[in-house]
């Protein structure tokens, strides 16, 4: 079963605890994260998302991002990533 989670507007360091709680609550499920409202994603939340994606992927579950906002794509781009890096299951 795929769970839908809407990401917060501002994913800075202050938002990481809340995001971690939300993601851990969906442990064991596929998660689709809606990035349409994201205006900023910082390093800490990015690390959390990538780590969750890695751990969930190892357990056979997908963590993907849908509808990333322009700003989110821009931030991901600056970090060296693209939207495709959050599609499918990590290698």
């Amino acid at each position: 079963m795929t769970k839908q989670v809407a990401l917060e507007t501002k994913l800075d360091s202050a938002a990481v605890d809340k995001l971690r709680t939300i993601l851990l609550a969906e442990q064991g499920d596929d998660i689709t994260l809606d990035g349409s409202g994201v205006q900023q994603i910082g390093g800490m939340c990015l690390e959390l998302l990538m780590s969750v994606r890695h751990l969930w992927g190892a357990a056979g579950h997908d963590v993907t991002i849908e509808n990333p906002s322009e700003q989110m794509l821009d931030d991901l781009g600056r970090f060296g990533l693209t939207a495709e890096d959050f599609q499918g299951r990590p290698a």
Partner: protein
């Protein structure tokens, strides 16, 4: 616990002020034609450092403006653009805007976007911004570079993008030229790993990476050190690392400036990629990997100067044989290169201290001085011989107390330079507003004064400068007709004089039109129509509330608000303001302030059984009089003849209302004071008790301003004594005529 982010930002803004100060210095040297080859480099680096720090905090408006500013400066320092007068004036205006942007960023105020945009457009007229011509080229395009792994995490997971084959940066000995052909642009390889403390201290990698993108096109690869278990999600902050290749002409130190506030909180390696322009042209010393976080040895001054971005390039070293790793400047020393540009590196370590702590220290020293006075008095009352060990110990104690007091006061003292720089801007803006050409000449900008006084002097000085520009200086036609140069001159001078700080604002304008001032005052009903006033009294009318001679309200003045406020503000600092004006030659406003606001050397005297303190620096001489020394003059007054000079006499007891006027007795003490240069006035007192340091206890908050009384103090026996301001006493009690008449006579 205070917010670490706020603390770091506060630290950044303080550094911005220092950098801006060096920028203004350099621009002023350029304007004065006294610059050398390093001057533009100093200015450039100041702007660049501000931009770097601003980028780390995501202050985009500041970054954008500084970016275009430094772009034009870069063209100047590379020789593709020469600095003429219009460009230098533009630089000065940009410097003002930069200052505004810093202030707005710090205070969270709205930025004057129109002015900022206008100036950016003007700058772009000299050197088009990269965004205009090379949009496609600098557009951020994430690419993947296989720069190897950052550390022991051998199972790091690079994102699945096609790698470029670049060598590892971990081991400098193995650094080889990446298989990228020689490029017109220099390339810097930046290896950056976040650590937990980086986030805790308020830094954000996103902003740092954005700031890097301002240096040039970036190729970025992100690597995740994958977590082993769910528990690892609780220890976030150090699993991401980036390998970024920046295509830029900037030296590696430019990257370190961006990471200045993150040093020690992350792992950072920066190398110029061999074969690229950076490695072949400059900054050979920074070709090899340099560790920011791990660098433990403090950078020696010599090493820092060799790391200066614009240090002359040594002979190019072979790319395959890197030199010894260059040490990285620590944050506190990061500004050394700017200072080193015009003078040899001579920096001493500094520490920033909360002003409240210093205030507490000053108060404690004040208590110590009082305590010492009480001890002295107790010992004196015991009739202990002066050569006894107790007396010797007390003398030593007094000397130590004085040294401590002076040292503490030095902590609060700051040069007036920053204040003068602000006035430079006021002159530029106000002269532009009234279409006059004005040159500001400053002198004594290293004169130190209490920090509190510096802050509170800004408003009155601004008023005075604006008045000088608007009212003092004539327009160009009038000046030329009078044989003066078209350009008006305003002098701002600071100096220590007789234990006080003297700040003068003078102009070479028309001088005060006293007839106009007097008639305006009569018109406004400020003085009676039949009033006969001396020149000095007419000048003093300028300080009356609501007084203005301006027939039109200009952008600068003419609203009748200003000089009265100036006088109030100066008086509230324990200072005085005086005017001296010569028709056709100009006007000088002189502000005299106490050197410190806490302790002074005073003479303890008595008048009609009242104990009073007179500041020692106000007293020129003391005399013991006989009745014959006084000579009667018209109006029932007397003067004292001192070495063939007649000196007006003021009986302090009468003036203060302690007693009725009475015939003088033999042995009466006269204190000669000098309220103005070359002018003496004798104050009659009963006895001189002592000469000692007293702690100033302000009275204004409780009692308001009392004419002739500066403050109060607590004496050694616990008695409270008033500290007099003898000059104010003379001016207020007897009027200026007393002094001025005597000045003219002498």
């Amino acid at each position: 616990m205070s917010d670490p982010m706020q603390e770091i930002m506060a630290s950044f803004f303080i550094e911005c002020e220092e950098l801006h100060e060096s920028l203004v210095d350099a621009l002023q040297l350029l304007a004065d034609g006294e610059s050398d080859i390093e001057t533009i480099n100093v200015a450039f680096r100041a702007v660049h450092s501000i931009k770097g720090g601003a980028g780390a905090f995501g202050l985009d408006a500041l970054v954008d403006f500084a970016h275009q500013f430094e772009t034009v400066m870069d063209a100047c320092r590379s020789g593709t653009l020469s600095i003429d007068t219009p460009l230098n004036e533009l630089f000065l205006r940009c410097s003002d805007m930069l200052s505004d942007l810093i202030r707005c960023s710090r205070d969270g105020e709205d930025v004057d976007a129109a002015t900022s945009t206008g100036l950016i457009a003007e700058l772009s007229g000299y050197v088009p911004s990269e965004d205009e011509g090379e949009v496609e080229e600098i557009e951020f395009q994430p690419m993947v570079l296989d720069l190897g792994e950052l550390g022991p995490g051998s199972d790091a997971l690079p994102m699945d993008l096609p790698p470029l084959d670049l060598p590892s940066l971990d081991d400098s000995d193995e650094t080889e030229a990446p298989e990228l052909g020689p490029s017109d642009k220099a390339r810097l390889a930046v290896e950056f790993r976040a650590e937990g403390e980086l986030y805790e201290s308020g830094n954000e990698p996103l902003f740092l990476i954005k700031a890097l993108a301002d240096l040039g096109r970036c190729e970025t690869k992100l690597t995740l050190d994958p977590p082993k278990s769910i528990d690892d999600l609780n220890t976030l902050g150090s699993r991401l690392s980036w390998n970024i290749v920046v295509e830029t002409d900037m030296p590696p130190t430019a990257v370190h400036e961006i990471f200045e506030f993150a040093e020690g909180l992350c792992k950072l390696n920066v190398v110029a990629i061999p074969g690229s322009a950076a490695a072949l042209t400059k900054d050979v010393s920074t070709e090899v990997p340099v560790e920011a976080a791990e660098s433990s040895a403090p950078a020696p001054a010599e090493a820092q100067s060799s790391n200066t971005p614009d240090a002359p390039a040594a002979a190019p070293a072979p790319a395959s044989k890197p030199e010894e790793p260059a040490p990285i400047p620590k944050p506190a020393a990061a500004k050394a290169p700017e200072k080193a540009a015009t003078t040899p590196p001579k920096t001493s370590p500094t520490v920033r201290v909360d002003l409240e702590r210093i205030e507490r220290l000053v108060n404690l020293v004040g208590e110590l001085v009082i305590n010492q006075a009480m001890l002295s008095q107790s010992i004196a009352e015991e009739n202990i011989p002066p050569n006894s060990p107790v007396s010797a110990g007390l003398d030593e104690f007094m000397q130590l107390t004085r040294n401590i007091q002076e040292s503490v006061m030095m902590i609060r003292a700051q040069p007036v330079k920053s204040l003068f720089q602000r006035m430079s801007r006021i002159v530029r803006e106000s002269s532009a507003a009234v279409d006059k050409t004005v040159k500001l000449v400053t002198d004594g900008e290293n004169t130190e004064i209490d920090k509190t006084a510096i802050e509170r002097l800004a408003d009155p000085l601004t008023h005075m400068i604006r008045n000088a520009v608007d009212h003092g200086l004539e327009d160009a036609e009038t000046r030329i007709a009078q044989g003066k140069s078209k350009q008006g001159e305003i002098k701002l001078r600071a100096a220590h004089k007789s234990g006080r700080v003297l700040i003068e604002v003078s102009d070479d304008g028309a001088g005060i039109n006293r007839e106009k001032v007097k008639s305006k005052a009569m018109e406004k009903g400020l003085i009676p129509d039949e009033a006969i006033l001396s020149d000095s009294e007419i000048d003093q009318l300028l300080f009356l509330p609501g007084f203005s001679t301006a027939t039109e309200v200009s952008n600068l003045s003419g609203r009748g608000v200003g000089m009265d406020v100036v006088k109030t503000q100066i008086t509230s600092l324990g200072g005085r303001v005086t005017i001296e004006s010569t028709p056709g030659a100009g006007t000088t406003f002189a502000i005299s302030l106490p050197l410190t606001l806490a302790v002074l050397d005073g003479m303890v005297i008595t008048v009609a059984q009242e104990t009073l303190v007179i500041p020692l620096n106000a007293i020129v001489e003391t005399l013991s009089l006989s009745v014959d020394d006084l000579k009667p003059v018209a109006g029932g007054q007397s003067v004292l003849c001192v070495r063939e000079q007649f000196v007006p006499v003021l009986d302090l007891g009468v003036e203060l209302g302690y007693r009725e006027e009475a015939p003088m007795q033999d042995g009466t003490i006269a204190l000669l004071i000098s309220p103005e240069e070359g002018v003496l006035v004798a104050l009659l007192v009963d006895t001189i008790e002592d000469q000692r340091q007293v702690v100033i206890k302000g009275m204004q908050e409780s009692y308001g301003r009392v004419p002739g009384v500066a403050a109060a103090t607590i004496l050694g026996d616990g008695q409270i004594a008033l500290i007099l301001d003898p000059n104010d006493l003379v001016q207020n009690a007897t009027g200026d005529d007393l002094v001025i008449t005597q000045k003219k006579a002498s």
